[in-house]
Symmetry: C2
Subunit: 342 residues, 2 copies
């Protein structure tokens, strides 16, 4: 029986799910709830996350006040996808002596795109004797940690190809916009150019994690984004896509070593792929000795998977040395289940 | 660039493959080769393992002389499947200050069947500041480590079912005998009764590793072995199985918690399953939230996989604290590849 002290920082769909899942474990308490949404501030956390019992914990945007409490513990941080945006939050958390688990995609390996920020986080975490870990379903598991684990029975590897085909239908307006769902092809191209359509966030991190684990130096990485144009009408609770419009973004990342393609990660994200006979799934092929060809059908759901990866990391964090850590420093990741009562 | 010092102890097919794979990494030297086979003793290791360059290393059965050299290093131990049989070898290795990686199936979690021996190994390893690790493809990966890794994105789990369907055709007379291949059904039943036919070695270990990782207390485990009777003629380099004879052993292990079946591991091992339209593969289903259904087809080859798992553990061993360790203590396992030269 543990008595974890957790702060839920960021109460969007992911943060709310993480708070609920943590409470279900019955292995500690949520001691703080931080969000900047005026509709949430001042309300009880139980009401926000749909927890059946009162938690006597009011959502606040006064982060520093929440963090100043003793004796500290862990923060579940679900406020943004980007290292630059979570950096001040992580620094504040570390200064007050809290470990941080974040689902910010870029934080799964912030050293790739922002090495100076990663260095600063690592230094501060070591000074404070705390751990910072980025995780999630992708990046964090399907297109990196699981890929790496599947190389364990290999004598040699020529190339790795991994593909995640998922359905965006459950997601809301923000995801629809960043994936360009419902746009014309022209609008999609303009969105890519001006950065409003981004596709998947996390490919440089996944490439980095795999290459580092395998000791490969990548001399070049490239990313490619193209519209997935609907041939049939597709519909979700948040959007209707008429034929000829964009149903999603096919995003591909490639890593080259000595000029040779060694890593290819493919992630077409779209609403209702089933409408055109496309099955969702996670597919990994390690081309080597032996070649290993894996599939998971349907794909591991992104929302549930991200919530679980973050909360399941809580009991593993004690195994890590202070500093900025990645999923590849952890012991084999695993579910953290409710104790079965005798 | 590392300079690992390795002793190859046990030069059967697995031990020879491990020695070759280690040498291919070009990250150290084999400093000792131990075997008790009179046909191997006195010959150069290069000749025994088919290594193209002379190694100036003579195979010997004088284990203690080999172990007495300084400064020590790691032993790749491939002499037996059973904890009792490798125990004196491990104890001797530890006394002389060597880490041990063994593919003895029972050593993947010796605390299950021989807790007192596991305790003795753990104590001695701690005293000596050394690590002992059991690994392999199964137990060691497919039906335990990989199963555990696939639970990482789960919020809850009701039951786990994992099946490994493989082809025994590449294996020699010893495996044919212990699996009962070529026997009549009567002979198979008698073989089970008198212990000459054993099926798979390692199920109690795999059940233990999964249950421990998930915090499940198993109040009962059971194993079941039944003959796979050929309907068509099956043939391998070592055996012909006429219709009506036994082509292999279907071995099942089940783990119960609070009287409920929570873990089911299924491993039918037979020669030439394709002769009757059976595809080989590794299949894992985590029934929970979410349910995750994985397949690898064909199965990860057992021989290559075991060789790779053992050698790939070499660079990860430094991450472990002294003592008797399991695959679940390691960081996410991964291939150890030759450096790509710039």
């Amino acid at each position: 029986m543990h008595d974890y002290h957790i702060i839920s920082w960021g109460l969007g769909a992911m943060g709310r799910g993480m708070a609920r899942l943590f409470l279900e474990k019955n292995q500690g308490r949520i001691v703080g709830a931080i969000d900047t949404d005026p509709d949430k501030i001042g309300r009880d956390l139980a009401e926000i996350i749909g927890w059946p019992e009162p938690l006597a914990l009011t959502v606040t945007d006064a982060a520093e006040t929440v963090l100043a409490q003793k004796p500290g513990g862990m923060i579940l941080l679900a406020t943004s996808s980007f290292t630059r945006e979570v950096l001040p939050q992580i620094e504040l958390a570390l200064k007050y002596g809290w470990d941080v688990i974040t689902i910010a995609e870029e934080m799964s390996a912030p050293q790739v795109q922002t090495p100076e920020l990663a260095e600063a986080i690592d230094r501060l975490a070591r000074e404070q004797g705390r751990v910072v870990l980025g995780t999630g379903i992708n990046p964090g598991f399907v297109l990196d940690t699981l890929v790496v684990a599947l190389t364990a029975p290999c004598l040699s590897i020529q190339k790795i190809r991994a593909e995640r085909v998922n359905d965006l239908s459950p997601f809301g307006p923000t995801v629809m916009a960043t994936q360009g769902v419902g746009t014309t092809v022209d609008e999609f191209e303009r969105g890519l150019a001006d950065g409003t359509i981004v596709g998947h966030v996390g490919f440089p991190q996944s490439l980095h994690l795999i290459a580092t684990a395998l000791g490969w130096e990548l001399d070049r990485i490239e990313e490619e984004r193209e519209p997935i144009v609907a041939r049939e009408r597709r519909q979700s609770p948040y959007v209707v896509v008429e034929p000829g419009r964009v149903a999603g973004c096919r995003h591909i990342a490639r890593g080259y070593s000595q000029g040779r393609l060694v890593l290819e990660l493919i992630h077409p994200q779209q609403v209702q792929p089933q409408a055109e006979g496309i099955s969702t799934g996670d597919y990994i092929t390690i081309e080597g000795t032996p070649t290993i060809s894996m599939q998971i059908q349907p794909e591991i759901p992104g929302g549930l998977g991200t919530i679980a990866m973050a909360v399941n990391a809580i009991p593993l964090l004690a195994k890590l040395k202070p500093g900025l850590r990645t999923m590849l420093d952890l012991p084999v990741p695993r579910a953290w289940l409710q104790r079965r009562k005798k």
